[in-house]
């Protein structure tokens, strides 16, 4: 075929970064990952969780936690999804989520939203008083005790629970279970009203 070879052709100056954003030739601009709390109202019906989690896994969104539970409306459930992604990824996650048919609405909560997770920690039962003392330091409480073990409940931010779990390590931790974060926006706004 005729025509100049590749290295003899007109070339533009510009460039895009890996996120498809046009960049200044002098400066590489990429968005660093940040954490986002997505709150989604979904139709409460079988298969929704798998649809949402499947979406996140096949699109390779970096998911931190996902919690789901019923709301005050009988046919609606709320999911709280923590993801860590660069800005375009967060936008994309929101749009893809919104696109799922059973999803009613999606919004990103402000960083100052109320966020809580729950941990149950089962430790050895040799020093119940010491366990209780540590639990109180983290506003937790023993919820089950036997001769061999004590189970403590802690509620709070991820950091607080991390710290509590660390503190319990001195008591021969036998089992830990943690939920992901559940979150609500501060103030009077609700997701339903936003719609």
């Amino acid at each position: 075929m005729p025509g100049p070879a590749p290295d003899e052709r007109i070339r533009p100056e510009g460039r895009r970064n890996t996120q498809g954003i046009r960049v200044d030739p002098e400066a590489e601009v990429t968005h660093e990952p940040r954490q986002a709390v997505l709150s989604a109202l979904v139709k409460h019906r079988p298969g929704v969780l798998s649809e949402v989690s499947g979406l996140f896994s096949r699109r390779q969104f970096n998911i931190e936690s996902l919690t789901v539970g019923p709301t005050s409306e009988e046919d609606t459930a709320r999911m709280t999804i923590l993801i860590e992604e660069p800005e375009p990824g967060i936008e994309q996650a929101k749009k893809q989520l919104q696109k799922l048919v059973p999803v009613v609405s999606v919004s990103e909560l402000e960083p100052e939203a109320v966020r809580r997770e729950l941990a149950l920690v089962k430790v050895g039962g040799e020093k119940p008083d010491d366990v209780n003392a540590v639990a109180e330091m983290y506003d937790g409480q023993a919820v089950d005790a036997s001769t061999d073990s004590v189970t403590v409940e802690i509620t709070g931010s991820k950091q607080k629970i991390d710290a509590a779990v660390e503190a319990f390590r001195q008591f021969d931790v036998q089992e830990i279970v943690r939920t992901g974060a559940a979150a609500l926006e501060r103030g009077p706004n609700t997701l339903d009203k936003d719609d």
Binding site: M1, P2, G3, P4, A5, P6, D7, R9, I10, R11, P12, E13, G14, R15, R16, N17, T18, Q19, G20, I21, R22, K43, P46, G47, S50, E51, G54, L55, R58, P88, E91, Q92, K95, Q96, Q98, K99, V101, P102, V103, V104
Partner: protein, 587 residues
């Protein structure tokens, strides 16, 4: 072949109202069929089986035509092609288990190309679900990632509604496949409830028109461009926006590049057409895309086969992106001016909002220079074997404008798209996003039934053809006048081309010297077979195949050394396309 395919829309509507007087439904299966009738279904492509039998039984009393396919994959591709050509969802049936899994390839294919399609699968009875019963699979689970929505029908009273909703969902907004899984006890179960009219669920919202202010900003930016380009994707065709596209492009004199699925959205014989861009697109389309300063992209998802590496894709351009699906905005290429809406409506909005035409005389000249510099050509020395490009070009010259071209996937697909001159929408039926080998044979069947008055040709490769060759039996039984042309190079040629270019010529598992004599195979199926080897026989053979009233297969033995050019290596820079093998080494 049924005559219903040619029933005009108005008459079809009348038939719809007639069905209101039909006998009331008594079973879930009848409700399923009623929902299909209400939605205007004329054809269903499928394969019988244990779990879907109640639905077939209900179909016995319906005016809907059922086409028995030789394999469920073929049913899904035929339905997909039917959807592409008509614009309305194609319908396919399969039984549970292997029937349903065989449909998955076609469903995934439709999903990637946003083709309207609805799949109905049989399922074991509800009380058996989860017990690994005979021919049970989790069809909803398997298909969820590749459908707009997959439904598990839970009751005879609502199964018809499920089908109606799935139908509406496949068609509205960004089109795509939906699936309804039908447990046998649900379809066998008694009900006297008629299905509701087709409507999407209330959580599904489609924005039809773009925000006026955003349109104005985009129009101003486009009008101010020095090097504007319109990039028309498959969404233009899906939205029936070809006329609106032509109006905008010709009124404001802007060069038009299409994507591969967008082929046919703008006439390739128009002076503003630069044909299609991407890995094997024309050099001039790729140079225009690379050097534009304002790209109006409509109904494209910026697939990597189009963009090459995103860092070098239209690097100087402000991007105006028109799409019905908000999730496509800034997914792969950042949109400076996102316009969410139906392509036809937004193009109309843009047309009205343009303050003036871009001053782009020099740019248009530049584009013309590129067309002259890098024409789509191939060499045809006298002593060489047959050139595939020549076969395609000759066929294109012989046929009317509205001829529908179907393909498999591979080198033949690229030659067909490069050397056929497309001037009308819905005449190019191919597997783009998923790149499904074997798509061609059944797709041509769906296309022919969708448009019985139009000529249908299918270009296939020897490897691709072999994957769904059993579909020829269906074309014979239905007496479909389709011309299959196998561009036979005794290889999966595209793989071999990559092996030669990027794997030091180590041709692992890419050469097929054991393929059958396709002309004889065609005859064995009851079709007409032709063997084509010499350039001087091309026109005569094509004419003979076209003249034959029924399916014919031309086994065209082409130059095995021929490769597809231009080529942009995977993830490469569109402006640096290779025109020949040794250019690849420069890149």
């Amino acid at each position: 072949m049924s005559e219903r395919a040619s029933v005009p829309k108005e008459e079809a509507d009348e038939q719809e109202t007639e069905s209101e007087d039909a006998a009331p439904v008594t079973t879930g299966a009848q409700s399923v069929v009623r929902a299909l009738e209400n939605a205007g279904t004329e054809y269903v492509f499928g394969v019988q089986g244990g779990a879907i039998m109640p639905v077939y039984d209900a179909l016995y009393d319906s005016d809907i035509n059922h086409v028995t396919m030789a394999h469920e994959q073929g049913a899904s591709h035929a339905a997909d092609a039917y959807g592409i050509v008509t614009g309305d969802p194609g319908v396919c049936f399969a039984t549970s288990g292997p029937g349903a899994t065989n449909l998955v390839t076609g469903i995934a294919d439709a999903n990637m190309d946003s083709d309207p399609m609805i799949a109905l699968t049989g399922q074991v009875s509800k009380e058996m679900v989860g017990n690994d019963a005979f021919q049970e699979t989790d069809t909803v689970g398997i298909t969820q990632p590749v459908t707009k929505e997959s439904y598990f029908a839970s009751s005879p009273d609502t199964v018809g509604d499920n089908v109606s909703e799935a139908f509406a969902l496949a068609d509205e907004g960004r089109q795509g496949p939906t699936l309804v899984d039908l447990p046998k006890d649900v379809t066998q179960g008694e009900t006297d409830i008629e299905p509701k009219a087709a409507a999407t669920p209330d959580t599904y919202e489609v924005q039809e028109e773009a925000d006026d202010e955003a349109v104005q900003e985009a129009a101003d930016a486009f009008a101010a461009a020095d090097r504007p380009v319109i990039l028309a994707g498959g969404g233009v065709i899906k939205a029936n926006a070809s006329a609106a596209l032509r109006e905008l492009a010709t009124e404001y004199e802007v060069p038009v590049v299409t994507t591969m699925p967008g082929i046919g959205s703008f006439p390739e014989d128009h002076e503003l057409s630069l044909e299609w861009a991407g890995m094997h697109g024309t050099g001039y389309a790729n140079l225009a895309i690379t050097n534009t300063d304002c790209l109006l992209a409509i109904g494209t998802r910026f697939d990597d086969r189009l963009t090459g590496g995103v860092d070098s894709f239209a690097p100087d351009a402000d991007v105006i992106h028109v799409d019905i699906d908000p999730a496509e905005i800034s997914k792969n290429i950042y949109a400076d001016y996102p316009l969410i809406g139906d392509a036809r409506k937004v193009l109309r909005q843009l047309f009205d909002a343009m303050p003036r035409a871009p001053e782009a005389d020099a740019w248009r000249e530049q584009c013309q220079d590129w067309k002259d510099e890098y024409p789509m050509e191939y060499e045809m020395p006298d002593d060489e074997p047959l050139k595939p490009q020549y076969v395609v070009e000759t066929f294109s010259d012989l046929t009317p404008d509205d001829t529908i071209v179907c393909t498999g996937v591979g080198q033949h697909q690229m030659w067909a798209s490069q050397f056929w001159e497309f001037t009308k929408p819905r005449t190019w039926v191919s597997s783009h996003g998923l790149g499904t080998m074997g798509y061609g044979v059944p797709a041509a069947i769906g296309a022919k039934l969708a448009a019985p008055d139009q000529e249908v040709v299918c270009f296939d490769g020897d490897g691709s053809f072999l994957m769904t060759v059993q579909g020829i039996s269906v074309a014979v039984r239905e007496n479909l006048d389709i011309t299959y042309v196998i561009l036979n190079n005794e290889a999966v040629g595209m793989v071999r081309q990559w092996q030669d270019g990027f794997y030091e010529g180590r041709r692992m598992a890419s050469e097929y010297p054991w393929i059958p004599a396709f002309d004889k195979l065609a005859e064995a199926f009851g079709a007409r077979g032709f063997r084509l080897e010499a350039e001087e026989d091309v026109e005569e053979t094509i004419q003979a195949a076209r003249d034959y009233d029924g399916p014919s297969v031309i086994d065209a033995h082409i130059d095995p050394g021929e490769n597809v050019f231009p080529m942009v290596p995977s993830g490469g820079d569109n402006g640096l396309f290779a025109l020949q093998e040794d250019h690849l080494e420069m890149l």
